[in-house]
């Protein structure tokens, strides 16, 4: 098992940002806001956020906002709750939330809650528990969770609970690790994790670990690095992360690195992309962080120093739940 080639990953991400004309970049143009979040979060985790021109990023984000308050995935694209969260998260990352009119963004999200408590992604009415998570997370970051009907939102999420303890997109939808992350995350922020059958869901989640050590997103599917993130965070949120083997998972993630050119892919030897680099590094940092203390150091001290620059880095993976920003803010308020 090798080490995390942190420096190469930084180079890779920076190179992707420069390659605006590649086919992948063009295909993903409409979700550049998500890409910005993934890429910038990785840089933050690696302690290299200072290589980015903050002003440029912030003004680009603001040019994606629409009159109704929501953000599009790129300039000229329609507003959608998916990109609204990414925009708010990136601004929070740079501590620049004051540049937006929080009430305007809030009104956009409030307007997307339906009678049954669910959320639509935009005016065209697609309903999905992903959007429930996004709404709750985003309003939590903006300190305006009281503006939606949280009880109804929670009730809707619970109506999507399945026989295996997991959650689907809509009632009756099959459980899926990404969807479970969203639903469990939303319930965590709403303080309603007591409604989750943690032992049943925990068993389903820990059985996502296959022989190679990687985690899949559904039974009988191939393992994928990005599920190391969804499954792992879900297991942490329900306090069952000790039910999987961390050593095996770390090995799997390290095996997915492109040690020559940087970047992390979904499975060993597949092509790398920004999305998986984010999940690989976030999952890795998370894992190293949790378990290097528990089981002794599995990676070299130097590498650790490189990744664990500031203690605040560790808050970042969970900051997608919004809560950490909230508590840090509250604490700073009460200290001044």
């Amino acid at each position: 098992m090798g080490d995390l080639v942190a420096e190469k990953h930084v180079q890779y991400i920076l190179s992707v940002q420069k390659k605006k004309d590649s086919f992948e970049s063009v295909v993903m143009e409409h979700l550049r806001m998500n890409g910005a979040y993934w890429g910038l979060t990785t840089l933050h985790l690696l302690g290299k956020l200072d290589t980015v021109d903050v002003h440029e990023v912030v003004s680009w984000i603001m040019s994606c906002q629409h009159d109704e308050g929501g953000f599009g995935g790129n300039v000229g694209h329609d507003p959608h709750i998916l990109y609204t969260l990414s925009a708010v998260q990136v601004l929070a990352l740079f501590n620049k939330l004051d540049v937006i009119d929080a009430d305007k963004v809030t009104n956009y999200i409030v307007g997307l809650q339906n009678e049954d408590g669910s959320f639509s992604g935009d005016i065209w009415g697609e309903v999905d528990t992903r959007f429930s998570y996004i709404a709750i997370c985003c309003l939590s970051l903006l300190h305006r969770l009281d503006r939606i009907n949280v009880d109804k939102a929670v009730k809707y999420i619970i109506s999507c609970q399945n026989m295996d303890g997991g959650f689907g997109c809509t009632p009756g939808g099959e459980s899926h690790a990404g969807q479970i992350f969203c639903c469990v995350g939303a319930l965590a922020i709403a303080g309603s994790l007591d409604l989750v059958d943690k032992d049943l869901l925990g068993w389903w989640l820990c059985e996502r670990q296959v022989k190679s050590g990687g985690l899949n997103g559904r039974p009988e599917k191939l393992p994928d690095v990005c599920y190391s993130w969804w499954v792992l965070s879900s297991l942490i949120m329900i306090d069952r992360v000790h039910w999987i083997s961390k050593e095996k998972l770390i090995k799997f993630i390290l095996d997915c690195q492109d040690t020559d050119n940087g970047g992390i892919s979904d499975r060993p030897d597949d092509a790398v992309d920004v999305f998986h680099t984010y999940f690989g590094v976030a999952g890795n940092v998370f894992l190293f962080f949790v378990f290097s203390t528990l089981f002794g150091h599995v990676i070299s001290k130097d590498t650790q120093k490189g990744i664990f620059k500031k203690p605040s880095d560790f808050l970042l993976p969970t900051s997608c739940f919004g809560s950490c920003h909230k508590i840090d803010h509250l604490i700073s308020l009460c200290l001044c």
Partner: protein, 705 residues
């Protein structure tokens, strides 16, 4: 990229790709210009169709097409409406051929169909094509549920469809999942042929064997089988599982109002301080609506209406454990007179489970309270004295006196039907296999637990606890990746075995000898050194006032779900109760465990009687990630009110981030003796902080303050 091999691109590939990128880029720019200028001509629409064919994920283009349909509808006559919509269906179909995981494409199709202008007859044919290509595609399955609802295809027909799919390949978790959804609906509305659950379940057991036994490594049938067991033994209605005082108990109050429960001394000083007697009701699941009309307390002692409080860590109005404090101070009790207290539960409607089921069986608890001549036990003498947990301060107990409160009450609960036992019995024969197969062993363990819980209690021959404990031990070796899962299960079962009866409890009960108070002995439940990784069976421990859990591997004291929990008369239920149920608990030893954060001690906040707490030699402060953080109701969860003002004052110059969790747990407690030594967090700063948070504290880390 998902599933794309990592290899350097050849030069010709690179030039092809770059040409493609350029073309797509130009399409996207032109499209965005059209969108912005609201141009909905045929050319503009064709361009967006071309774009979506290459890049179905471009959500704005789908939005644009919806706007175009709306725009062109208003301009056209109704004859061409249908063709307008058909055109959209065609674009979606092409896009899905490119990428059938495109959320935008599937939603566009739903949007078109919900307009009601297009025929839905084609949809199943299309779906069959897609599901043949990828039988697990959850977009297609979601769309299928949408279409079948629209076409009013019955759940029974859809059930047959899942059989068809499973017939092709049993390894289709999506189909098994959908089967559980459909069956749940059919059971719920008692559809024809589905009102006798047992017959259906028997068939289902046989059916899922095909998946489990064909390839036992294949997980497709695992969760469905567990669901069937749950369906067999589960009772939806909320029920009372235990109470304190238990039915038939005699509680002796001394002249100075301290409590003595039937031969067991109660050392609980809070109760005598406040002159209150707690009554604790423990249900099988969280309920709401416990109040003076649904729970009627009859006694000549009572003058006022009682206010029942839910014991919940997140301030909700539903809880599994409810408590009321009878105020004895207001009552003029006569010496040597016995007062009877009768509690009727659920005789009038109103107690409801969170999924809307009414309380199952009205039940009654009666117990007696009497006042004896004062024997002046200086309860306050406890304070300021070290509570020792050393072995030589404990004395073994040979037997319990009759009617002591250590056994849970006998409630009026309907018995289980025979078919449940028969079904489980038959399953056991199918899974009894000596081969080293993980799912067989795990399923067998679960089935044996279910069987034990279903069997009449007097039938001791059928107790399989030892066998199941052995199975879990084997599983830890067989499947080391998940060994801590099996260990947790092992711990829960062991605790259940220990706490299940008076006889099984005796070896763990000791008299605690307070060296200076030679007259009094207290009973301590000592569960130390059992290598427990998880704590459970709280509902059997409502009577415990002194608990020693030291030298185990506990990480938290959270509520546990035990899938099948035994009730007196054989009924089994889902169970979920945490330490907060132990309202009489006064002394708790958690030293030498693996508690990694203060949030792991969350339920302690609800223990109003707790005076002595030993959490020395744990891992508090050693871990930077707190996996309990999201479960503990805290300012992180938005449901909690946090006393920021007091926290701010107490924190002073200390690092707030370091202390807020400790503040959260200890702020509402009245501890007199706390031992926190041997934890990374416990430095001098912390000690002086905790002393301020706990003004009642007399002893810290074995030293007098």
């Amino acid at each position: 990229m998902h599933g794309r091999p990592r290899k350097p691109l050849k030069e010709e590939d690179e030039s092809v790709l770059s040409a493609k990128a350029e073309k797509l880029h130009s399409l996207q720019s032109q499209f965005l210009a059209n969108h912005q200028n609201r141009i909905y001509t045929k050319e503009a629409l064709d361009l967006s169709a071309k774009l979506l064919e290459i890049n179905p994920e471009c959500y704005t283009a789908w939005n644009y097409r919806k706007l175009a349909v709306q725009h062109n509808l208003s301009e056209s006559n109704s004859d061409s409406d249908a063709s307008l919509f058909d055109q959209e269906l065609k674009v979606v179909e092409n896009a899905l051929k490119k990428n059938f995981k495109s959320y935008g494409a599937w939603h566009h199709r739903k949007w078109v169909l919900s307009k009601g202008h297009s025929s839905i007859d084609n949809e199943l044919r299309l779906l069959n094509d897609f599901q043949k290509a990828d039988a697990r595609n959850f977009h297609a399955w979601n769309y299928r549920r949408f279409v079948t609802a629209l076409m009013k295809i019955s759940d029974e027909d859809e059930l047959k469809y899942t059989e068809k799919v499973i017939g092709v390949n049993f390894s289709n978790y999506s189909a098994w999942h959908n089967r559980s959804v459909l069956l749940s609906t059919l059971f719920k509305r008692k559809a024809e042929g589905f009102s006798h659950k047992e017959k259906v379940l028997q068939e289902e057991y046989k059916y899922v064997h095909s998946a489990i036994f064909t390839d036992s490594d294949d997980q497709s049938g695992w969760f469905y089988h567990l669901w069937l067991i749950d369906q067999t033994v589960k009772n939806d209605a909320p029920l009372l599982v235990s109470s304190w005082p238990s039915h038939g108990a005699n509680i002796t109050l001394n002249g100075n109002n301290s409590l003595h429960g039937s031969g067991l001394s109660l050392l609980n000083s809070t109760l005598s301080d406040t002159k209150t007697l707690p009554v604790i009701l423990c249900f099988n699941q969280a309920v709401e609506g416990v109040n003076s009309s649904t729970v009627v307390v009859k006694s000549e002692l009572l003058k006022e209406d009682l206010v029942w409080k839910p014991l919940s860590t997140n301030n909700s109005s539903t809880a599994q454990v409810w408590v009321v404090y009878l105020n004895m101070g207001n009552m003029k009790l006569q010496l040597s007179k016995t007062y009877s207290i009768e509690i009727n539960i659920g005789h009038s409607m109103g107690i409801l489970s969170s999924n809307g089921y009414h309380y199952g069986a009205p039940s009654q608890i009666t117990f007696e309270v009497c006042v004896q001549t004062a024997y002046t036990e200086p309860v306050d003498g406890q304070r300021g004295k070290l509570t020792s947990w050393k072995d030589n301060d404990f004395r073994k107990i040979d037997h319990f006196e009759e009617s002591n409160p250590a056994v849970s009450a006998d409630h009026h609960i309907p018995t289980t039907s025979n078919w449940c036992m028969e079904a489980i019995d038959e399953e056991i024969t199918n899974f009894q296999d000596l081969s080293d197969c993980k799912i067989r062993k795990l399923t067998l363990a679960r089935l044996l637990i279910a069987l034990d819980l279903l069997s009449p209690q007097h039938d001791k021959r059928k107790n399989h606890t030892e066998e199941v404990l052995k199975l879990y031990t084997e599983l830890m070796k067989l499947d080391p990746t998940h060994s801590l899962y099996y260990k947790d299960e092992h711990s829960l079962l062991l605790l259940q075995q220990i706490t299940s009866s008076r006889e099984s409890l005796i070896p763990y009960c000791h008299y605690y000898k307070d060296a200076s108070e030679t007259n009094t002995s207290y009973v301590c439940l000592r569960l130390q050194n059992l290598s427990l990784s998880r704590m459970g069976s709280f509902e059997n421990l409502l009577w415990v006032q002194m608990l020693d859990l030291s030298h185990n591997e506990l990480r938290s004291i959270e509520a546990v779900t035990i899938a099948f929990k035994k009730l007196e008369k054989g009924l089994t239920v889902n169970f979920l109760t945490g330490l907060e149920a132990m309202q009489l608990l006064s002394c708790l030893n958690l030293s030498h465990n693996k508690f990694g954060s203060f949030t792991a001690l969350g339920p302690l906040r609800l223990l109003k009687s707790l005076k002595v707490l030993n959490i020395s030699c744990n891992e508090l402060g050693s871990h930077s990630i707190d996996t309990r953080r999201y479960l503990c109701s805290s300012p992180l969860a938005h449901s909690e009110v946090f006393a920021w003002d007091r926290f701010e004052i107490l924190c002073g110059s200390y690092s707030a981030t370091k202390f807020w969790e400790a503040f959260l747990i200890f702020e509402s407690l009245n501890l007199t003796d706390l031992n926190i030594a041997g934890n990374a967090v416990a430095d001098e700063n912390f000690a002086s902080f905790i002393v301020k948070v706990l003004p009642t504290l007399k002893l810290l880390n074995d030293e007098e303050l």
